[in-house]
């Protein structure tokens, strides 16, 4: 019997270390012989901390929402008593889990299953098999041709065919060539790359080494954002393990192929996810994008041919070379073969990481796998592609998730962030939120991006503040076109997308803000007031005690009032009012 505990960042944040401690204490107390393993994230972040019990027949029982108390119960009933604790069981041999049922795991094949810190586990799960075969039996051209057959497209955003970039980097002359793994994951609300690096770092390393062999590079860098300390730590350990066993370094598998990998930490700049900016940052400079061409495959790191791919792209590569390009292209759609990992977040019931064949509809991903909207609210829109993407409304929920169909909606596939929104999300405020982000992150090189995003932000702020004017929507649309046309890199070229898609699908909400000075979602502070209904208020004083502005007064057991001049509109009173009274209202 074995016990497996999910120790990804999300699991740890939810208290998985305490769970591990109590498991170890129980084992000691009961003098049991049970192996405790840690693993990365299986993707069910909503149910963290997660604990699996694996019995002698290798049957897996997964528990969710585990606390030290639940651990005691699992030990009493399941481990010593043989009857699983139904209440916390999320999947079992005879109990299918909706969250996992519709998925097809290629990039995430090992996440949540292996112990990412154990090299033994990696090898038992086919780690470095592809590399061994490739460097001893295949030519670089054959590798590229296999990738071409798989139809793999870059998972970092633009969906560019991977083989094409490899081929270009291979053919361009240079006294040295480089491989870069883009682990900057700047889209706020996306965490696929973090989970992959935390849960299965060896697959990423192997993918990079395979790319190195195909391209003719001997050195690779992982550019990882500093906000992901655990991912960096696990990748560092994995590099060390691989080096010790000669799977990275000199003369790999006796083939004469040398490849080493080092990690460089980002320093917090969204634009550094863009490949030319990333290279500038690797060189120790300010991360400013430059004009392409020359493309990195022609002139990249220190002006040498450089191949840059995303973490997930690399993680797919070993699978393709073990199972063949055909097996990969058999999944998904014609133009978007394979599977894609999505990070489901926002107002979703079962948030987490899912990997599905391309072409599944948004509805299937959000409702069948994600379980629909939290607190049984109504679905309003899903945001895809982060600050460069857009919002897709309910009427387009049957859109298949593939590069081209998503682009047609005005959003982009992006790196795979899906933030789900319900009726309580204000779409104007959301557009303002993204513009605020891109405006801050604009590196300032292009006038249109630097000043255009600022002007757009000002207009959006004024609409949210109830100061919107007739003509503002048209002005936004006009500036948006200028910003798109006049920017050098993808940041500026796509920054207006969140604004344009919200105008396209939720124009009435903009108009309500501008004409009626109303925020239909009741989010924009300047357009709402919190009130206490004197009929319903029992004067319990809970809201007054919790109000951070101390602006609620009233005698005990008598209706209270909010001083509107001091009110911060934080909504604390709304949460604080006991559900049996529900005396606080927003208008």
């Amino acid at each position: 019997m074995k016990i497996r505990i999910g120790l990804g960042s999300c699991g740890i944040a939810a208290g998985a270390l305490k769970v591990k401690e109590s498991v170890e204490a129980e084992i000691q107390e009961r003098k049991l012989e049970i192996e405790v393993q840690s693993t990365g994230c299986i993707g069910m972040c909503h149910a963290e901390p997660l604990l699996d019990v694996i019995d002698e027949q290798n049957k897996v029982y997964s528990y969710g929402y585990v606390t030290p108390k639940v651990v005691k119960q699992i030990f009493a009933d399941h481990i010593t008593g043989q009857s699983p604790v139904e209440q916390y069981l999320i999947s079992a041999p005879e109990k299918d889990c909706d969250f996992l049922a519709g998925q097809k795991r290629v990039a995430l094949r090992n996440c949540g299953i292996i112990n990412p810190e154990s090299f033994q586990d990696c090898i038992e799960h086919k780690g470095y098999q592809a590399l061994k075969r490739v460097v001893t039996e295949m030519t670089p051209e054959e590798v590229i041709s296999e990738i071409k057959q798989s139809g793999l497209r870059g998972r970092g955003g633009a969906g560019f065919p991977t083989w094409f970039k490899w081929d270009a980097a291979r053919k361009n002359p240079g006294d040295a060539k480089y491989i870069v793994c883009n682990a900057d994951e700047g889209d706020p609300g996306a965490f696929m790359d973090r989970s992959l690096m935390e849960g299965d770092p060896h697959s990423v390393l192997e993918g990079m080494a395979l790319a190195g062999y195909a391209v003719g590079a001997n050195q690779g860098f992982i550019y990882c954002r500093a906000e992901y300390p655990l991912a960096i730590q696990r990748a560092e350990l994995a590099i060390k393990q691989a080096e010790e066993r000669g799977l990275l370094g000199k003369n790999i598998f006796g083939s004469g192929f040398d490849f080493e990998i080092s990690i460089k930490q980002g320093a917090g700049a969204f634009v550094c996810g863009e490949e030319t900016a990333l290279i500038a940052s690797l060189e120790g400079e300010r991360g400013m994008p430059r004009l392409k061409p020359p493309f990195p495959a022609q002139s990249g790191y220190w002006e040498r041919p450089t191949n840059i791919n995303n973490v997930e792209t690399y993680a797919n590569v070993p699978w393709i070379l073990v199972n063949g390009g055909k097996a990969f292209s058999a999944m998904g759609t014609d133009k978007s073969p394979g599977t894609k990992v999505f990070a489901l977040a926002g107002k979703i019931k079962r948030g987490g990481l899912v990997e599905v064949p391309m072409g599944l509809s948004l509805r299937e991903v959000i409702f069948n796998i994600g379980g629909g909207i939290k607190d049984d609210q109504k679905f309003k829109a899903v945001q895809m592609g982060g600050p460069s993407g857009g919002c897709i409304p309910e009427e387009l929920l049957d859109t298949p998730v593939d590069y081209d169909s998503i682009t047609q909606t005005g959003a982009i596939m992006g790196s795979g962030g899906m933030v789900v929104m319900d009726e309580n999300t204000c779409m104007v405020d959301l557009a303002r939120f993204f513009l605020d982000f891109t405006q801050t992150e604009s590196c300032g090189k292009c006038v249109q991006c630097r000043i255009g995003t600022k002007r757009m932000l000002e207009i959006l702020e004024r609409i949210c503040d109830g100061e919107g004017r007739e003509g503002d929507i048209e002005l936004l649309e006009e500036i948006a076109v200028k910003v798109k046309e006049g920017s050098l890199c993808g940041l500026g070229q796509s920054a207006p997308n969140p604004v344009l898609t919200t105008i396209r699908y939720f124009r009435d909400e903009y108009e309500a803000h501008i004409r009626d000075k109303k925020c239909p979602a009741k989010q924009c502070k300047a357009l709402i007031t919190f009130q206490i209904d004197p009929e319903k208020c029992h004067g319990c004083g809970t809201c007054a005690r919790k109000c951070p502005a101390k602006c609620i007064t009233g005698e005990k057991k008598k209706p209270h009032v909010i001083d509107q001049d001091l009110c911060l509109k934080c909504g604390t009173c709304l949460d604080a009012c006991p559900s049996k009274y529900r005396a606080v209202t927003v208008e």
Partner: protein
């Protein structure tokens, strides 16, 4: 209470004399001397040693590593990770990413700002808390999230966030009283 600010002034005055930081700084610079393209990594190292980038240290690096001060300052201000001022004892990273935003992180910010009487990027006058807003801590399923000295907390409500912060304040007060006895 004003201890942290005094210490940092001292550091500012004579970086050469503080053995605790001088030694690691020399090791750091030795590691990167002669390696082109290391400025970001050097500044990250400096921030690990000092907790921020003291002006004097940046000048010193410019001098000894033969890099233009303007370039160092340019890089230091380009990346959000670099701080030109010392941080408080508790460094609050409040997530304002998309998932946290739609789950109400703005309200958490209002509540914390009001409680500590500081805006994002500021430190309380007693040097205890620094508040920073960040975009995504990668724990989106626990949104809204904040991280205090590496420990993530979520899902938050304004009330829960205040309880965590008041807990830390109380802990500090106790330590202070305990210390003076």
């Amino acid at each position: 209470m004003s201890c942290t600010s005094q210490c940092s002034e001292q550091q500012e005055n004579d970086i050469h004399k503080d053995a605790k930081t001088w030694q690691p700084l020399q090791e750091l610079l030795a590691q990167y001397r002669g390696k082109k393209g290391s400025l970001v990594a050097i500044l990250q190292g400096v921030q690990t040693i000092y907790g921020y980038l003291p002006q004097q240290v940046m000048d010193y690096i410019a001098d000894t590593m033969k890099i233009k001060p303007a370039k160092i300052y340019g890089v230091a201000t380009f990346y959000t990770q670099f701080r030109l001022k010392p941080v408080g004892k508790y460094h609050i990273l409040l997530c304002q990413g998309t998932a946290c935003h739609v789950n109400g992180s703005e309200r958490i910010l209002t509540a914390i700002s009001e409680e500590l009487k500081i805006k994002p990027d500021e430190t309380t006058s007693d040097g205890l808390f620094t508040l920073d807003c960040v975009a995504c801590l990668g724990c989106c399923s626990l949104a809204p999230v904040m991280m205090i000295n590496g420990q993530a907390h979520g899902p938050l409500t304004p009330d829960k966030a205040l309880r965590i912060i008041r807990g830390l304040t109380a802990q500090e007060q106790q330590a202070c009283e305990g210390g003076s006895n």
